[in-house]
Symmetry: C2
């Protein structure tokens, strides 16, 4: 499979080096440890926000570092959690005396390493576990639901709360509210190609799609026949709307997220279908975000995230933000 | 080929409807005519900026409408020029009494329709023809070089000049300077799929790439063996640097542009290779832009654009801009 890479083992560092050079005005990347922080000095007394995960989700995680969002992030190898040492370094870097919020997507490796780091640090912490993927029915003893697009929303919304000077308890409350009030669902048209093997992880027939995919190249929960966009969107939205139990008059934020190889034009078309369905139910789209924000290497596919909004979340969403990916109000 | 679309003939309007709903705060889209304008009223006496072209290049053209950039744009069908009527409507919409600059990429259909519109309107006009693709050696009587990434840079830089209150002559001077001082080169790993046929326009062998591609799904100027990113970047940069004749100490803006299906992580890796080559030649990267800004449907590939910078262009680049795609300084 053809990709713009050199030796596969150099991909992560070479990508991060490019990111670092491109966004040096906002983000300071430490290539040796693959930990990145805001360019400017920490604000004493501000709660720190730390996120992280495997490589292959760009622009997540480093793209959300900046004013009104993350203070530090760390990235592992392809689809693998950062190490405990990396997480500890990120926590130290984000600590400005008011404690740190750890934003952890619910994947086994991430949960384990962030948990160990949380036990080893002396910095006061809160941890929010992101598990917004509603394609999975939680089973006793299983890992449960995966973290998806809500991660992006928590970076922004809890980030705005921290920037406003709120306490660690308050910042964690907002992060948990976003996690509780949002649901995501993803479908893939094609698997991604891992740099290590140069091959697709799985094959999808030309008339089929993979339904209920996460962001680590894994198979979905089932396979369905390929269909027009409006049917695929209905398939994704149905479980989201059922779980969020949105009534006419409700107000939501919609994130239509590309998984890597799906062009922006198609994401706008998907967003249009989301809008048609929500309008028919009397649900208003208060804010929206369309683009490839949380990817799975070069997977062709999309995920939809819906967050039930209230006054507080609206205010936090509109608050100034300045990161490589999200920039407004300043 | 699987895509997030419904009936292929509805793709353009459904995509624009999604864009319109997503960016209603900044851009007003008239779906009936496929012409879009800034949301806020025109500033009397400001030079208007109009751009346009075929569909399939998203976020170009509508994504660059806003403060410090375009005032109006129009879009045709897939890879086809907007009509004379659309262009005339865009000119009228952008006219605030100080004349209008037309930004036209050098493709036969676009040039013809913009030319006719320019003859038919009473609005004082300047026209800049963008032809930065240096993979083509101009031949007498032929169409010549195609417009590529410089289009994006002109939207921003001439847009900032117009926003500063400069005259039509001055705004056109900046646009022509950008066009003269920039070069682009593109390569494709895979062809794009047209919505009409659902098929790739051409096939590229698994160990080959298409060198010197434009943004309309056409074949490149030649075929080469697939190679590591650093070799592909050298292949693209070599003719650019030769033509721009950059000396040690020179300062440039680099745009690494994805053609549709190439994920952001790979674009950062490409940017890293550009940086390595430029540093070795003593050329400094003053500003950079990495992302998918001017696409060719879902083509897998990238184009590199280099603009030779001076004090004026640096000031104009850093000036505030607020569009769906570019936002900073405000």
């Amino acid at each position: 499979m053809k990709r713009f890479i050199n030796a596969s083992e150099d991909s992560v560092l070479e990508t991060l080096a490019g990111f670092a050079a491109c966004h040096a005005d906002l983000v300071a990347v430490r290539l040796a440890s693959k930990v990145a922080t805001r360019r400017e000095a920490l604000t004493a007394g501000k709660v720190g926000l730390v996120s992280g995960g495997g490589f292959g989700h760009e622009p997540t995680h480093f793209g959300f570092i900046g004013v009104g969002a993350l203070d530090a992030a760390c990235v592992g190898t392809v689809f693998s959690s950062p190490s405990v040492a990396q997480i500890l370094e990120a926590i130290q870097s984000a600590d400005a005396g008011a404690g740190v919020l750890l934003i952890v997507k619910n994947y086994a490796g991430d949960v384990m390493n962030f948990k160990v780091a949380a036990q080893e640090t002396a910095v006061p912490l809160e941890v929010v576990l992101v598990s917004d993927d509603c394609s999975i029915t939680p089973q006793p003893g299983a890992q449960g639901r995966r973290g998806m697009g809500a991660t992006v929303l928590i970076h922004k919304l809890a980030g705005a709360m921290a920037q406003s000077g709120a306490s660690l308890t308050e910042v964690a409350r907002v992060a948990r509210k976003v996690s509780a009030c949002s649901r995501s669902y993803g479908v893939a048209l094609e698997s991604c190609v891992t740099p290590n093997t140069g091959k697709r992880i799985f094959d999808v027939a030309s008339d089929e799609i993979e339904v209920g995919v996460g962001i680590h190249g894994e198979r979905g929960v089932r396979r369905e026949k390929f269909a027009p966009a409006k049917d695929l969107v209905a398939l994704m939205l149905e479980p989201i709307l059922m779980e969020l139990n949105l009534q006419p008059g409700a107000s939501v934020l919609v994130l239509v997220n590309g998984l890597g190889a799906t062009p922006l034009a198609e994401l706008y078309l998907v967003f249009n279908e989301v809008k048609i369905i929500l309008e028919a139910r009397g649900v208003g789209i208060a804010r929206s975000l369309v683009g490839s924000f949380l990817t799975s290497l070069d997977m062709a596919g999309t995920s939809i995230t819906v967050l039930s909004m209230d006054e507080e979340l609206l205010r936090l969403w509109d608050a100034p933000v300045c990161t490589p990916v999200l920039r407004w109000g300043m």
